[in-house]
Symmetry: C2
C-alpha cells in the first residue's frame, strides 16, 4: 500500500510524477503529495485522491527537473493534509516519501522529542526523516551516511525516497520489504513502486533488492548495500505494453479485466497445455523441483485475500489429483506462529502482485529453514517470484482494479496445471481422466466467454438486490471457496456486508441472519455435492430467505426453488470454479456501480498489501 | 434438530410429553405438535414454540396413556401449522414424528401420487408415513413389517416414532443417524432425542443404535435389527441431575452457563491435572491410542461451528507443543470430498452433543478406511463418543442454551491437556514449560471467575453498541479463532452481522466496511503478536472505526487508542483464549437481551445439528 514515484532528469518532473501517481493510485488513495526543488524545496499535499492534488496545484509554478510524489494508504494517523506525504525534516531541507511501517517509531519519537524535535503529524514517516536529520547533524555526515546509520536502528518495512534542498541533483532511496523499481532512461531516471509509471518512457528497469540504498542522479545510478559496498545494477527488460494499463473503452478497469478473462485464461494456458497431443508443460517447474513436488509429504499453500481463496480450491484439486495432503495458511498467521515445516514439505506462495508483505516474509523465513518455495505470481520479476526456487507465472497481464478478478481465474488455471502435472508424474491419475481434464481446461476460455454473455442478466439481478443490507454466499466442495470469493468481491466493491460459508455450516450460526430481506447466493452447479446443496436451499426457503442460485445450464430442480437463477456452462467440478466465479464478479461490479461507488478504488483498500 | 418425545405407560402421557418438549426445545422451535389415542387418534399441532401449543390445548381433553410429541426445526417446507409434526397416513390411523431428512422423498412422493395418495404438507416426513401405509396395505402386513421394508428404500437420516390407532398399546421407533434414547421405568417407557425429558422419571436408559427398530409397550422393550433379528437392549445408568437442566435463578440458560464456567472448567481438569505433582492423566486416552497419537504423522481435527473454532485453537496449541502437523476440517466438507487420510494419521472429532450429523458421518467413513478416531464430546454416551476408539469427555454438564459457551471453554481445556500429554511423551516440551502450563491451567478457573466480574462493564459496552448494523472481530495467533467465535456468538444471539477475521486479512477486503459506524472488536491480549495487532488498531482508527479492545490487565498502549477497553487477567498465550472468550460471550448475551430477543432460542437455529 502507498504508491511512490520520483523523477530526476531533463524533463519537467511534476507531470511525470503526477501521471505516475494516477497509475499507482490502486495502491492507496487516502491522500497525495509531491515535493519539487525550484529555488528551494516546495512540498504540496492534500487529503483525498490524486485528482484533488492536481486541482490544488493548477496554476502553481511546478517547474523542476527533480520531484518525488506519494499516494497514501493510511496506517498511522488518519487521512488528512497534515499526515500526507512528503514529510519534511525539522529544518525543512529534507523531504521524504515512504511506503511501509516503521514499527519502533514510538520509541524513536520519544527520544527525538527529548532532543527538542517538534512533529507536525501522527506518522511514523515523519519520525524517520527527523531521525535521519538528527544523525546527520550530530555526526556531521552526509544524508546518505545518516540514512545508512538510521536504517540499522529501524524495525519494519519500507521503501523511502529523499530529496535534499542542498543537493538538487540527487535522489536517495532505500528498500526493505516494500517494492522499488528504477527505470533507466537517457539522462534520466524514474523511481516507482511498480513499472506502470515507467513503461511509457523506458523499458529498461532495475529492481532494487532489500537492504540496498540507491543514489540516483540524472545520468548515474549507484547501488550500495547496507555496509556501503557498491553493487552492480542488474538491468532487465519490461515486457508490458502501455495499452495493458489503460481502460480501453470500458467504464472501469474492473469491468475491462472481467471481460479480458477468456483471453487471459488462454494466455495462462498458452505454451503449457497441448490437449490435442495430451501434453502439459510447465517451464518454470522442471527437473529437481518437479521431483520435489512429486515426492512432497505435504504441500503448504501460503497466501492472503483472493489468492488464499485460490489456494483453498487448489487444496481440493491437488488432494484429489495427487493424493498429497495440502494445507492452506493465511500468510499473516503462518509467519508469526511456529508452524511445523518438515523435510519434504513444499510451500506454494500465491500472490497477484508478488509483493504481498505477509506472504513475502512468510516464505523468506520458511526458505531460511530449508523449505522449497514455488511461486505463483502475476507480476513478472516481483519479489516473491524472485525469491522462489521455481514457479509459474499466471500471465493475466497487469491488474489495475483493486478487486482482483482475472488474476484469480488465472491462479486457478495455473494451480490446476500444477496439480495435473504432479498427478501425471506421480501416477495418481488415469490417462483417461488426465486427458479429460486437459480437454476441459482447453474449453474454459470459450465457456468463460459464454458466461460473460450473462452480463445483462446479472445486472438485472444486481438492480433487484442492490439495497440489501447483507448477503450470504454458500457453496460446497469446489464451490465453497467460490462462495467466499464472491462474498469478498461484493464486500470490497459495494461495502455490503457479505459473508461466505460452506453451505452446511450455515446451520451452526449464520442461518440466524436469514429473514425475508436476506439474499443468499448459492453456488450450486451440478457436481457430486448437488443433492446436499438442494437440501440447504430448501432450508433457506423454509425461512423465507431470497435465493439467488448459480446453476448449470438446464437445471430444473433449483430453478423451481430459487428466486433468481443464473445458468453457466457445464464443466467438470474440478475446473467449474473458473466459470461459476464469473457471474459473481459481475454481480459485485454492477451492485457497486449501481450504488454509485468508485469500483476501481473502493474505500480504505489498496491493491497490493505491502504492509503487514 | 427437531426434538422428539414419546411416552407409553400408566401415567397421563400428555403432561410428560409436553414437559419433555420444553426440555428439547433447544433442538428447534419452529412448530410443535402431539398425538394421543383416546377413542381414536387425535393430532394437534401449531406453528411456533411449545408454549403456543400448550395454550392451544388448554381445556382440551388430553387423556391418554400413550403420546408422541415433536418440536420442529424446519428443513423441507416453511414453518406453519400444516408442515408441523406429527404427520398422518392417508387413512388417518397412523401418526408419525421424525427428526432427520429423507433425501429421496421427491421420487417417493411422485410414485405415491401416481397411486392416488394426497399430501397435506410439503414435508419429507408425510411422504414416509404414506409410503409405510402403502406398503402395509399392498403387502397386507403389520406396520412394523411395512416400516422395515420402507426403510430399505429410504436414503437419509432419521429417528421416527409411530403410533397406530389400531394398536394403542405399542409405539414403534427406528433410528439411523439421529439420536434416540429410551428411558426404562416401572411399567412405562420414555422415548426422546436426549435424556433431558427422561431424567426426572428414571435413570435407566437404552441408547438405540443405527438400523435398529424398537417395539415399545408399557412393560416390554423389544429391539430388532433391520433384518428382524432380536437384539439385547443394553441398559446404562444416567449420571445427570435434574438441577443441571434447569435455570437456577438466572434469566437465561446462556447466562447461567456462562457463569458456570469456573466450575465446569474445574470439572474438565478434575482427576486429570495435578499441577502440584507435575502430573497429567487422561483416562480415556491410554496405551496404544496414546502411542498412536504420539507417533501420528498428522492430526486431523474434524468439527462444525463453535467446535471447529476450538479445533483451530487446538491446531495452534498442538503444532506448537508437539510439532505434529495439524489440519482442521469442516466436517461437512471433509466427508464429501476425498480427503487424504493416510496410515499414521489420527482424527480428533470435536462435538458438544456428540450427535452432530456431519461430524458423525465424517468419522464413520474415516473409521471404515482404517483411521484412528479420538472423540472430544460433552454428552456422555453420545454417538460420536461411542464410535471413537478413545477420547476425553469435556464434562461441562448439560448445555441447554443454543449458543455454546461452557462447552467451548471446556473443549479448549481438554484439547490443551491432550496436546500437553502428547508433547510430554514425545519429548517436544521442556520440563519447565510443561510445569508452567500445568500451573497456568490450574489457575484458569480463578481467572475466569475474575473475568466474569466484568459483567456489568461489558453490559455498558453492549448498551453503547447494540444498534450497530455490523461488527468485525479481529485477532491474531491464538486469539484469531477467539475472534471468529466472538463474532459467531453475536450473530447467533443478536442477528447482527458480525464477522471474524485474522487481523492482517482485513486489509485484503473487509476493511472496506469500516466507517465511523462500525464497531471493531480486537482480541489483543499481551502475546507474541501484540505489536502487530497494535498496528492493525492504528489502521482501523485511521479510518474512524470504533475500537472495542479485549486487553490484558494494565495495558496502557491500547487503552489510549481504543474507544472501549475490557481488561482480562494475564495468562500464557496458549491458554489465554479460555479467558479472552468470556467477555465476548457476555457481550453477545447482553446485546441479544437488550435487543429483546430470546437468547436461549435464537431464530432459525437449533442446538445440535443432526441433519446435514
Amino acid at each position: 500500500m502507498c504508491g511512490i514515484v520520483a523523477y530526476i532528469g531533463n524533463r519537467e518532473a511534476y507531470p511525470v510524477v503526477l501521471k505516475g501517481l494516477k497509475r499507482l493510485e490502486y495502491r492507496g488513495y487516502d491522500s497525495a503529495g509531491v515535493a519539487i526543488i525550484n529555488h528551494g524545496l516546495h512540498v504540496y499535499k492534500k487529503m483525498g485522491k490524486v485528482a484533488g492534488l492536481e486541482d490544488f496545484l493548477t496554476g502553481k509554478n511546478m517547474q523542476s527537473t527533480i520531484a518525488i510524489g506519494h499516494t497514501r494508504w493510511a496506517t498511522h494517523g488518519e487521512p488528512c493534509d497534515r499526515n500526507s506525504h512528503p514529510h519534511t525534516s525539522g529544518d525543512g531541507k529534507l523531504a521524504m516519501i515512504h511506503n511501509g511501517i516503521i514499527e519502533n517509531y514510538a520509541q524513536l519519537k520519544q527520544e527525538l522529542i527529548k532532543k527538542g524535535h517538534v512533529f507536525q503529524s501522527d506518522t511514523d514517516t515523519e519520525v524517520l526523516i527527523h531521525f535521519i536529520e538528527e544523525i546527520r547533524n550530530s555526526n556531521q555526515c552526509s544524508v546518505e551516511e545518516a540514512l545508512r546509520i538510521a536504517l540499522k536502528r529501524v524495525v519494519g518495512a519500507y521503501v523511502i525516497v529523499i530529496v535534499d534542498e542542498d543537493n538538487p541533483d540527487t535522489l536517495i532511496a532505500a528498500r526493505k520489504g516494500s517494492p522499488l523499481v528504477i527505470g533507466v532512461g537517457k539522462g534520466e531516471h524514474f523511481l516507482a513502486s511498480d513499472a506502470s509509471p515507467i513503461v511509457e518512457y523506458t523499458k529498461e528497469v532495475v529492481y532494487v533488492n532489500d537492504y540496498e540504498i540507491a543514489i540516483v542522479k540524472a545520468d548515474e545510478l549507484i547501488l550500495k548495500n547496507i555496509t556501503n559496498e557498491r553493487q552492480t545494477p542488474y538491468i532487465q527488460k519490461l515486457d508490458i505494453e502501455l495499452t495493458a494499463i489503460e481502460k480501453g473503452g470500458y467504464d472501469h478497469f474492473m469491468l475491462k479485466e472481467i471481460f479480458e478473462q477468456p483471453q487471459t485464461i488462454f494466455d495462462s494456458l498458452r505454451g503449457r497445455l497441448d490437449a490435442k497431443n495430451g501434453q502439459l508443460t510447465l517451464g518454470g517447474i522442471r527437473d529437481e523441483y518437479a521431483d520435489l513436488l512429486k515426492n512432497a509429504n505435504r504441500i503448504i499453500i501460503v497466501a492472503c485475500g483472493t489468492s488464499w481463496h485460490a489456494g483453498l480450491i487448489a487444496e481440493y484439486m491437488i488432494e484429489e489429483l495427487c493424493r498429497t495432503p495440502v494445507e492452506v495458511e493465511y500468510a499473516s498467521e503462518f509467519r508469526y506462529r511456529n508452524p511445523v515445516v518438515g523435510k519434504g514439505d513444499v510451500i506454494i506462495a500465491v500472490s497477484q502482485s508478488g509483493e504481498t508483505a505477509d506472504t513475502l516474509v512468510a516464505i523468506e523465513s520458511a526458505k531460511q529453514q530449508g523449505a522449497i518455495i514455488l511461486g505463483v505470481c502475476n507480476v513478472v520479476g516481483s519479489s516473491i517470484a524472485r525469491l522462489s526456487h521455481a514457479g509459474a507465472y499466471t500471465h493475466a497481464g497487469p491488474e489495475i482494479g483493486v478487486a482482483s478478478t482475472k488474476a484469480f481465474t488465472a491462479q486457478l488455471v495455473v494451480l490446476c496445471l500444477i496439480g495435473l502435472k504432479v498427478a501425471k508424474e506421480k501416477g495418481t491419475i488415469t490417462q483417461q481422466r488426465f486427458q479429460h481434464l486437459l480437454d476441459e481446461l482447453q474449453d474454459i476460455p470459450e465457456k468463460v466467454a459464454t458466461a460473460l454473455k450473462l452480463n445483462e442478466a446479472v445486472k438485472a439481478v444486481a438492480a433487484k438486490y442492490k439495497d440489501a443490507r447483507d448477503f450470504l454466499y454458500l457453496g460446497r466442495g469446489y464451490n465453497f471457496p467460490v462462495a467466499l470469493e464472491g462474498a469478498l468481491k461484493l464486500k470490497e466493491i459495494s461495502y455490503i456486508h457479505a459473508e461466505g460459508y460452506p453451505a452446511a455450516e450455515m446451520k451452526h450460526g449464520p442461518i440466524a441472519l436469514v429473514d425475508e430481506n436476506l439474499p443468499v447466493v448459492f453456488v450450486a452447479t451440478r457436481d457430486s455435492y448437488y443433492e446436499k446443496i438442494v437440501s440447504n436451499i430448501q432450508e433457506i426457503k423454509a425461512r423465507k430467505g431470497k435465493v439467488i442460485a448459480i446453476v448449470t445450464e438446464g437445471d430444473t430442480t433449483i430453478s423451481e426453488l430459487a428466486d433468481d437463477v443464473i445458468e453457466v456452462p457445464a464443466a467438470d467440478e474440478l475446473v467449474a470454479p473458473v466459470i461459476s466465479t464469473i457471474p459473481l464478479q459481475l454481480l459485485a461490479y454492477h451492485i457497486g456501480v449501481l450504488k454509485g461507488y468508485d469500483v476501481d478504488k473502493p474505500r480504505n483498500l489498496a491493491k497490493s498489501v505491502t504492509v503487514e
